[in-house]
């Protein structure tokens, strides 16, 4: 493995993933609707998977990819859980006045 050049690319992709995570975080905080937040969390989870995979290569120990795998699983579980628990609610409790007000703007 030729060290530095590859290390730099790993670094760049880590950086990019971190930036995307930050943008996702902003979306999760701003909302406005519950679905935006859910989407942001979902995206955040996927980016975590990527970050951990790349980190494994950056630090030279790529044998911890199991963690990335469990993140993917947990992420899926979380999304389903939200959809399932708030399925029946037409105006879900999570999707309340503040959100509709924000949408009107």
């Amino acid at each position: 493995m030729t060290g530095t050049a590859l290390q730099t690319t790993y670094g760049i992709s880590c950086l990019a993933v971190l930036i995307v995570m930050g943008l996702g975080l902003v979306r999760a905080i701003l909302g406005p609707s519950a679905f935006d937040r859910l989407m942001a969390v979902n995206m955040f989870g996927t980016k975590t998977v990527l970050l951990i995979s790349v980190l494994g290569f950056l630090t030279g120990r790529p044998d911890f990819l199991d963690i990335a795998l469990i993140y993917a699983l947990v992420n899926f579980l979380g999304t389903i859980a939200v959809l399932r628990f708030f399925e029946g609610r037409r105006a879900p409790a999570c999707y309340d006045q503040e959100a509709t007000e924000a949408n009107k703007d």
Partner: protein
């Protein structure tokens, strides 16, 4: 740099670029469905490129198999969640942007 290294670097950089595009989209686009679209770019293309880029570095080992599984898992689950999310949003009365523009 050997050829696999080159491919890796290419995939990673391209993946990073796509990720950034998607991220900006998630932040900037006007309504939920457009943002979901941007999000799905980062979930599928970016993840695919980065993970397959990494796969060129492992030779053929347990790590390759794990990466492959993560890739397959992500490629199955994230479109599914995106689909389910869009459907749930539509069901609960979220109006796509273009339509709400027309109504105005």
């Amino acid at each position: 740099m050997t050829i696999p290294d080159f491919i890796t670097a290419f995939c990673l950089i391209l993946g990073a670029l796509l990720g950034l595009t998607g991220g900006v989209g998630v932040y900037r686009l006007p309504d939920f469905f457009t943002r979901l679209h941007a999000c799905s770019v980062t979930d599928s293309a970016c993840a695919f490129l980065i993970l397959s880029g990494l796969m060129f570095q492992t030779g053929f080992s347990l790590a390759t198999i794990k990466l492959f599984f993560i890739l397959v898992f992500l490629l199955i689950t994230s479109p599914t969640s995106t689909h389910a999310l869009a459907k749930a949003a539509l069901n609960s009365g979220e109006i796509p942007w273009c339509q709400s523009q027309k109504e105005r």
